[in-house]
Symmetry: C2
Subunit: 313 residues, 2 copies
């Protein structure tokens, strides 16, 4: 099979042996596979990989057709459309995955959308609902709302009955984010538009103090991205106490197989029905054929995109 | 009635009109009333009082005998032994309180213990269980374990099946804290004894970075006290994310009546039965007669105590 490989800090596409499904695993013929920030960091050698993850095979999500079920695997049959998260090697013609890591692809989704769905919608759903317990009627602020997780979070907040505000770093995407259902605020003036019950932080440390100021009593902040800085200078514990607030940090990738499988069940229960109903969509910035993976990575690293970059097979 | 009053930054005891119970309120003849850090701050003018709280009448907790029930109040009858939190004016011969703020005093508790129980045990129970979800078998670290909240937290953690570690600032109280059920660690070396699932921070900012390092994946930190500093310099969001941790800040005093009443119900359900069974106790540093309130405040402010200072009537 052909697979995306990191060789000496560069993205290449090479022949690799076909994987074979082990007990409870499923062999999937990949049709689309999204790129994520962690892939870029892995290419550049800057991502602390979980144990057992091969450093040269990137790719954290994929969608495709089941080709074969391994011993004992019963959830899916050949021909089924599936998608899911994987610890590595998702950007290849073939992937094997534990059957409980896989989700069915809702009927109306095309392959590029399905290939770019799992990582950002799972991350956003986990942060907003599992961690922060976002409720209907509450006010949600999403910082960095034009990216993959941001566009997912804005839509998930809106469909759950939250009133969604957002900041975007590229002014050119303000209208697109507004069209997803957010009231787009100035990155410098969002405090005046508070208070917010839940704040999803996809930008990083520079926002944290103002987030605390803009937090409603009992509010929750989830920190998922720190591209603009990971160290908060002068973090005010008194304000955190006065707000009776809490700050979560999280990553999806470091979780155990069973924890990730739980997020897949939460997606099946709460998110995929909304895709099936046409109430959610995966904003796609651009697709690239697998063989042009290097160009896709460069486009991702250049930033300033709206939604996902996805490789197609 | 006689009441503790703050006059020009000094504690005096003066005559005040007897309070009258309004709808759903209960008039209590106070027998004991604990001191808390917020009382000292209020005396010194440094505490931001919630709206409607009189700045000159300190006292956040009390225990005593019901003297009369106001219109519609049915939970308690004259002669009942009760205790509870109050927004203010708890250090007086008479107190009125909403009946749902009151809890029955377990039979075996004497008045000084009952008067010093509500604030610290409610604070500790709320932080450990309501906020942090401490579970049996988990490891709990309490920083500042010799104080009122600390001694409560160590005992609550132990009775709930957690394995409790603690740091104390006054080395002379190490043995007493160990006797409550904690493994007492060096304040400088606690990282090596981690990881911990829950950390109760009663000291403040200087511990936060090391707390994050010592946190187990999925761990929770509750910040309740910041006596040693409230500003964290160089707060590492990356470590918070890697730990998939969360940090809560909280105060009890700023909460609404109904929120405080909920904490009283949680106490009745989960804490008072353990007092009734003799499995918990209120460590008392010293009692003072109400008329010697000024000396009691000075003793509290001097620090270095183990457990509560309580006024008796």
């Amino acid at each position: 099979m052909r697979a995306v490989v990191i060789r000496d800090g560069k993205i290449v596409v090479e022949d690799r042996p076909d994987p074979v499904p082990a007990n409870l695993e499923v062999l999937v013929a990949v049709r689309a596979a999204g790129l994520n920030g962690a892939d870029i960091l892995q290419r550049d050698g800057g991502y602390p990989l979980p144990p057992g993850v091969p450093a040269d095979l990137p790719g954290m999500e994929f969608a495709g057709e089941v080709r074969a079920a391994g011993p004992g695997a019963t959830r899916f049959a050949p021909g089924d459309r599936v998608m899911g998260l994987t610890a590595a090697a998702g950007q290849a013609e073939l992937v094997v995955a534990h059957e409980r890591m896989l989700m069915p692809v809702p009927g109306r989704l095309d392959w590029p959308a399905a290939g770019g769905l799992p990582e950002v919608f799972t991350t956003a759903h986990d942060a907003l609902f599992t961690q922060c317990g976002l409720q209907a009627g509450e006010r949600l602020l999403v910082h960095g709302a034009a990216g993959g997780v941001g566009t997912a979070a804005v839509q998930l907040g809106r469909t759950a009955g939250a009133r969604v505000s957002a900041t975007v770093r590229s002014a050119k995407y303000r209208d697109a984010v507004a069209a997803l259902g957010a009231d787009v605020l100035s990155p410098d003036g969002f405090i005046d538009d508070g208070p917010f019950d839940v704040i999803l932080e996809l930008v990083g440390a520079p926002n944290i103090r103002d987030n605390l100021r803009a937090l409603r009593t009992g509010g929750r902040i989830s920190v998922i991205g720190t591209g603009a800085g990971a160290t908060v200078h002068e973090f005010p514990l008194g304000l955190l106490m006065a707000r009776r607030g809490r700050i979560h940090g999280s990553t999806l990738r470091g979780r155990s197989l069973e924890e990730k499988a739980l997020t897949a069940r939460a997606m099946e229960r709460s998110v995929l029905p909304l895709f099936a109903a046409g109430e959610l969509r995966v904003p796609l910035h651009r697709t690239f054929p697998l063989e042009q993976a290097a160009a896709a990575y460069d486009a991702f690293a250049a930033g300033g995109k709206l939604g996902k970059i996805v490789l197609t097979v």
